[in-house]
């Protein structure tokens, strides 16, 4: 509770006590009026002042003004007829209690949500002149050495220069398995150091570090508004004036008609009905509960390691109908490794040596895996005349021998007969001095959770799954049928993937309700990520490019998170719709009841603050996402 809330609580209690006391005192006439005004003013003076200010600033249609008119009107009715002032006081009390409760609930949920995203590091330990100093991480320069003790958060991204430990990354990834860290590893901010002391050389500034970026992203997510929010904003804009004018209509037109037809005008009744109208006219329940639902949904998702960059993407994600996957790095581990060496007259190791040297200038994953399989440091003076033949392979002179390393096309162009492999994967043929010397099978491994992920997606209403890959059709069909993917397109160049997405987008029958998501590793598929309705980048921890390009970022590289993301978004949207229907429904019901004189002020205040509180509590449910991540 903050100061304002405490003060309001006191006011509520004091005026309630006074009102009950007055109820048992047999006073009549003007003294009764004056005495009853004391609890009324205690509870309502700030509302009256705010209403006055609103009129001066020509902003009359705010809720304080409405409450002021409604309660003053009730007092006027009491003064002239019943003498029952309790209603005006009770309505004001009820309203203030509701406001108090709302402010408390919102404050509480604000705390809960920011508590969930408690990855902001508060300090960094810097070593200077032999002793450790605690400093603001904001001022730490790139290249400084920071010390992270067990139990502390890593404040800034960097490389471990000394020590080893295990890190808890769950606040970032939702993954509870700790990660082992040794000297030379990259570490990212926001992780918690669990066991050993680490010395880290920072590679980024604090505001560029992962933790800061994620927080910034989540906090700004609500500025990208969803359709539901825009609807509510527009609705609220016309709702309040419409109800206020209906109230005016209700106060004057029926009595005038009754006078015209020679009836009793019943001014008091109609004005009372108009006043209840005014109380119901505040759109606050809608205006707060919808963004709060999205905010809670985004907060809950980020707890599960899923960053959603805007409320609009929650909405789109919930309508996912087709999911397009990039193969490498998304469904497969993206780590190529040598899985076989066939038809070679030489020793395996020697063949790998030639291949590794010939490919030494390339940064392609294939050449990296060749070098990894060779396992020895390369002496680059042993290789010369490296020629890359784009899309085919390389030729080079290694230890005086002319080496050709590449695919079948390369062998064909050199007039060398190659032997096909019966296994799936990337086949690297090698010729030494024009002589075929066997091939190396390099393949990628399907992620262990990929199959389960596809099954979950199907179970949760994703109609179609498509896989795009630059790989050969044989590899693609193998992977697709193994995982249960509906369609695949193979041998695509990066530019082709955009065309494929365009095709898929244009083939969707109902584009406003069936959305196409693309899932990639975010490294080289930025154009595709941005072209799809929803771009999902996965395993993006520490990759700025991916966080930049995608709409939804999966911190972990587990494809099951895609299904979790969709389920979280569906729950969030369900809550949003419940709140819209509930709040508008109750308000309209109360409006109709009060127009016919069936609702009193109490019900009207319930329609205002009661609905709001229920909607806020419902919105908070979007925060709980645990069951979707198992």
């Amino acid at each position: 509770m903050n100061k304002k809330q405490k003060k309001m609580l006191t006011k509520i209690l004091v005026s309630t006590a006074l009102m009950i006391l007055l109820h048992f005192m047999p006073i009549t006439g003007i003294l009764r009026f004056i005495l009853y005004m004391i609890p009324y003013l205690i509870i309502g003076y700030d509302v009256l002042i705010k209403a006055g200010k609103g009129i001066i600033n020509r902003q009359p249609f705010d809720e304080c003004f409405l409450m002021a008119i409604a309660t003053l009107g009730a007092i006027a009715v009491a003064l002239s007829r019943s003498g029952d002032y309790t209603e005006a006081i009770a309505v004001m009390l009820f309203y203030q209690t509701g406001e108090w409760f709302q402010s408390y609930a919102v404050g509480k949920s604000r705390k809960n949500i920011s508590g969930l995203m408690d990855i902001r590091p508060d300090y960094a330990n810097i070593e200077s002149n032999g002793h450790v100093e605690r400093v603001d991480p904001d001022g730490v320069e790139i290249g400084s050495i920071i010390i992270v003790n067990p139990g502390e958060k890593i404040p800034i991204d960097g490389i471990v220069t000394d020590g080893n430990s295990t890190l808890n990354t769950s606040a970032l990834t939702g993954e509870s398995l700790p990660r082992d860290i040794v000297k030379g590893d990259d570490v990212i901010s926001g992780c918690i150091n669990m066991s050993g002391v680490l010395k880290i050389k920072t590679t980024k500034k604090f505001e560029e570090s992962t933790a800061s970026k994620i927080l910034d992203l989540v906090e700004n997510a609500s500025s990208r508004k969803s359709k539901s929010e825009n609807f509510i904003t527009k609705f609220a804009r016309i709702y309040t004036p419409a109800v206020v004018f209906s109230a005016l209509f209700l106060a004057f037109i029926p009595p005038i008609i009754q006078i015209l037809i020679g009836d009793v005008p019943m001014w008091g009744d109609w004005i009372y009905r108009a006043l209840t109208f005014l109380v119901i006219s505040c759109p606050c329940a809608l205006v707060i509960s919808i963004p709060l639902s999205f905010f809670a949904g985004i907060g809950g998702a980020s707890k599960a390691g899923i960053l959603v960059k805007g409320s609009n993407f929650i909405e789109l994600l919930s309508k996912t109908d087709t999911i397009v996957f990039d193969k490498t790095g998304t469904l497969t581990q993206g780590v190529f490794s040598v899985n076989g060496i066939h038809h070679n007259p030489l020793e395996d190791h020697e063949l790998l040596r030639y291949a590794a040297y010939a490919e030494s200038a390339s940064s392609h994953p294939i050449s990296k895996s060749l070098q990894a399989a060779y396992g020895e440091a390369l002496n680059l003076s042993r290789v010369s005349d490296i020629k890359e033949i784009s899309g085919n392979g390389v030729t080079a002179i290694v230890d005086g021998k002319s080496i050709a390393v590449g695919n079948e096309k390369l062998m064909d162009s050199l007039g060398i007969q190659s032997i096909r492999c019966h296994l799936f994967g990337t086949i690297v043929h090698i010729a030494i001095d024009g002589e075929y010397s066997g091939h190396i099978l390099i393949s990628d491994i399907v992620k262990p959770t990929a199959k389960e992920a596809i099954r979950l997606l199907k179970n949760h209403g994703v109609r179609k799954t498509v896989m795009l890959t630059g790989d050969s059709a044989t590899v693609a069909s193998e992977v697709a049928s193994d995982l249960g993917i509906d369609e695949f397109k193979a041998e695509l160049l990066p530019g082709d993937k955009v065309d494929e997405i365009e095709n898929i987008l244009s083939s969707v029958t109902n584009p406003s309700n069936n959305k196409v998501a693309f899932v990639g590793d975010g490294v080289n598929d930025a154009p595709v990520l941005s072209r799809a309705d929803i771009g999902i980048a996965m395993g993006a921890l520490g990759s700025d490019a991916a966080i930049e390009a995608a709409d939804v970022v999966l911190m972990d590289d587990n494809p099951k998170q895609i299904a979790s993301a969709i389920r979280i978004s569906r729950k969030c949207m369900r809550i949003v719709h419940e709140n819209i229907v509930f709040a508008i429904g109750v308000k309209f019901a109360c409006l109709i009841l009060s127009a016919f004189g069936l609702a009193n002020m109490w019900l009207a205040v319930f329609a205002d603050v009661g609905v709001m509180i229920i909607a806020v509590i419902n919105a908070i449910r979007a925060l709980f996402t645990k069951k979707f991540t198992e």
């Binding site: 002042i49 705010k50 600033n57 902003q59 406001e99 604000r110 906090e219 609500s222 707060i288």
Partner: protein
């Protein structure tokens, strides 16, 4: 230039009214209020002096929501 300020306001509807008021202030190119985080993000027009613009922003916001606070 963009700057973020902490704000104090009671209800979501009032926050969106403040946002509208801030947007209409001279020197403000765009403004976005996040009621959940109680942050106001203001994008200033070129050459505008943030602190003097913010004084006007506060004045305009007070007109629509008399007890709001902006921390600048």
């Amino acid at each position: 230039m963009k700057k973020t300020y902490s704000i104090e306001v009671d209800c979501a509807n009032c926050a969106s009214k403040m946002e509208d008021a801030a947007k209409k202030t001279t020197g403000v190119a765009d403004c976005n209020i996040n009621f959940m985080t109680l942050k106001m993000k203001v994008e200033f027009e070129e050459g505008a002096d943030p602190s003097s613009v913010m004084e006007n922003v506060l004045k305009n916001c007070r007109k629509v929501e008399s007890d709001c606070e902006i921390d600048f």
